[in-house]
Symmetry: C2
Subunit: 328 residues, 2 copies
């Protein structure tokens, strides 16, 4: 039985989710792919921190321990922020490891370079978890592109913002009350500014732009507005007219074939596909030439949804390998 050796960089919610699913689904993965997947090394910031019991795995705070282990086939990255994540993944690719990342901030900026580098080294890059958590939007757009053409992508890409807007509308909470509630429930970061200013949604939009259009618009040219200036009274008034504010990220090719993007609150009516998307869900509408309009809705974050997106990337990498090794 062939075995795949994996390392996990970062052991917060997402990293732990990946580890847990790999343990829980060990037999199923073996059965469906013919491979056992073994986590051999986990990179943490603080080795002394108490955590769930993990056996037979090296816990290290030094990335060299992972890089210098020639056994490792695939690196899961669930660190927050640009660096050192980008450097780590570049080095992993250089050592011919496949990489699977959930790091949207890093990938919005460095995704195109990592993809090129990976192609050169004949390894694969999984980034399903960078955008819309468990919603398989990356795989879906990739598949659509094979025989169709994407014209526009718009969606609710930040679950925290959507949770806050839902709270304000439904319960009349103020923005700061709703934000505090999101933080208490673990939806928002300790520093939620990227969520509420629209920057997080913007980055995910740039990842989708690279994928769907093979390019990103000039970042400076995309207006980005958050939800932090919205008043509860405005949301409630809109609600009385059966309208709702949604925080929408939008990218499309204009009539001249130029890429245009916007991120900000939009007032929508009850027949719009985004009208009923409440709470922490994400939703994405993809408009294509042949298919028309396809909408995907699901959990935008969380240990298991995001972890499962990374496992889906791994399964895809294994299946491609298998196809190469075992022609049927």
């Amino acid at each position: 039985m062939p075995s795949i050796k994996a390392a996990i960089l970062g052991f917060g919610t997402v990293g732990e989710g990946v580890y847990r699913i790999l343990q829980e689904k060990r037999e199923e993965i073996k059965k469906s792919t013919g491979f056992t997947v073994e986590v051999v090394s986990i990179l943490v910031k603080d080795k002394t921190k108490k955590r769930m019991s993990i056996q037979d795995v090296q816990i290290t705070d030094d990335f060299r321990d992972i890089l210098n282990n020639p056994e490792i086939d695939v690196v899961f990255e669930a660190i927050v922020g640009d660096e050192p994540a980008y450097t780590y993944l570049s080095e992993a690719i250089e050592k011919s490891c496949h990489i699977i990342t959930a790091n949207k901030k890093m990938f919005a900026k460095h995704g195109p370079a990592l993809m090129k580098h990976a192609e050169f080294r004949s390894v694969q890059v999984g980034f399903e978890a960078t955008t819309a958590g468990g919603v398989p939007i990356i795989r879906t757009v990739t598949n659509l592109l094979a025989g169709d053409r994407v014209k526009r992508i718009q969606g609710i890409l930040n679950g925290t913002s959507n949770f806050i807007l839902t709270k304000m509308r439904e319960e009349g909470s103020s923005f700061s009350q709703a934000l505090a509630d999101a933080q208490q429930k673990g939806f928002a970061e300790a520093d939620p500014s990227d969520d509420v200013t629209g920057m997080d949604a913007f980055r995910k939009l740039m990842i989708l732009s690279s994928l769907a259009f093979g390019q990103q618009p000039d970042w400076e040219g995309v207006p980005v507005v958050g939800i932090d200036h919205l008043q509860t009274i405005d949301l409630i008034d809109a609600s009385k007219e059966n309208l709702r504010y949604r925080h929408v990220a939008d990218i499309w090719l204009d009539e001249r074939g130029k890429l245009q993007g916007t991120v900000g609150p939009v007032l929508i009516g009850e027949n719009h596909p985004l009208f009923s998307i409440d709470g922490v869900d994400n939703a994405i509408i993809v408009d294509t030439e042949y298919l028309g309009s396809l909408t995907l809705v699901g959990p935008g974050a969380g240990m298991y949804p995001t972890g499962s997106a990374m496992i889906a990337d791994l399964m895809h990498i294994i299946r491609r390998h298998e196809a190469v090794l075992i022609p049927n």
Copy 2:
């Protein structure tokens, strides 16, 4: 430049859609896969019928012409009904052709046998277009199954029924007026009984059941109710309370692990994901162990959406081939 030779069985709306997309996207497909795809033969019922101009393609009313052509790699099937479609596809598999079908009636019943036969002959079966038209539900569930577990699938699987219910609610039309309108617009068949009695949705549910759970429930044990007994007044009354009737097909594992299915009209509230799905759209909600709840919404029928689903199957088959032929 390697070339793939295809035959199309049936040249109604869907068959023509496949042909058109293959012509229009010839260069893109060549560029993205490295293969040219050439339609060499089309099976029609009536050779004398006037149709769009088609060059360099054999138009035949005898399936033997296709079966005895050893060049053909893949057969697109867009015939209506069980037979002769099932026999044709079995024979094509026996000749080591990949098959791609849009025939839900045939596939609900014979899908499991065709899949087994294809595995034995080492060819692939594409059936994305059998269920929910252009919505990539088959691919999405297939991908989810790799590292997750499906618990329940429910959805609006018949666009004609949904169009009729929308018309009745929005415009106060009677059932028969709305049905006539659907027929005039080309949404419903000349004989729409499978649509309005729920049989069409039931068959798609059985296809999803085989895929997601590896089995189908006893057909006799699944209650199937159509929309043909609904009164306009009931829909309008519900609408006043902000409720809507949707025709929902539903399949799930019960607490004892037994497969349960139902098909019929359901009254739902405004926060339900199916509330805002109007017109001919289809929508499917997949509940899984890790991901949670994922909803897909899109066009359930039409020349280009359904044709594009079949092309997506072809792209998948080519990519698997390519992976075998050209390890990277």
